[in-house]
Symmetry: C2
């Protein structure tokens, strides 16, 4: 089922069966986690990297809202529930080895807890890390 998003892009929502079939193709690590790259679907900007367990992945695929596993809090974390900076799922990809996910998303507001649009706002320069 696709639901309409405000910028004319459909959010992806899969059935439980389809979500489980996709999760079965993922090689979770020894902690039961997989790294997830979130990329803004239209601009191609890489916004953040976070982690999912199997439950978070299935919740994301069936709910259309990106849900991570917080390693620091050891809890499910549906992005934006506190900040309002939600991530709507557009497409979910898995890599050749099954051990990394790439999500194309629609980011509302800032992806980064610092308020920056992307978590990757520093680059390597001759004086060390510098603002972009």
């Amino acid at each position: 089922m696709n639901v309409h998003m405000s910028n004319e892009v459909d959010a992806l929502r899969l059935s439980e069966t389809a979500a489980v079939a996709f999760a079965d193709a993922v090689a979770f690590d020894s902690h039961g986690l997989v790294p997830v790259v979130a990329q803004q679907h239209d601009s191609g900007e890489v916004l953040m990297l976070a982690w999912m367990n199997r439950e978070a992945l299935i919740a994301t695929l069936t709910g259309g809202r990106v849900t991570y596993w917080s390693r620091s809090r050891q809890a499910m974390w549906r992005k934006g529930d506190t900040s309002g900076h939600i991530q709507e799922l557009v497409e979910a990809r898995v890599d050749c080895d099954g051990d990394t996910l790439l999500l194309l998303i629609r980011q509302t507001g800032a992806a980064c807890h610092t308020g920056a649009r992307s978590c990757f706002y520093r680059r390597a320069g001759e004086a060390g890390p510098e603002p972009l």
Copy 2:
């Protein structure tokens, strides 16, 4: 120092001092590793995720050629030395927490060992993972 690349984009090469200063801002995990997202600098395509230790990061920043740490082989792995599918460094970014890197690169040929341009060539569909 910037070196000229064939598609008119300069490759980034930092001094050893600058590379060390950048590496000092990186929070390597308990295995001494950090996940690295490789993105084609001009198209924005996310090509792969791999891992670096401190030595691989410094070699990448000073050498202009992307070098990873292979967890399966437990060895340094300068991308393209065997396949010819090299990655030239354009920009290196670090995220807010210092625990993920994003590299803008110039990919020659396929990033994926399967021969695919990107490792992310499958997406979630109603029948499970399907080709893009």
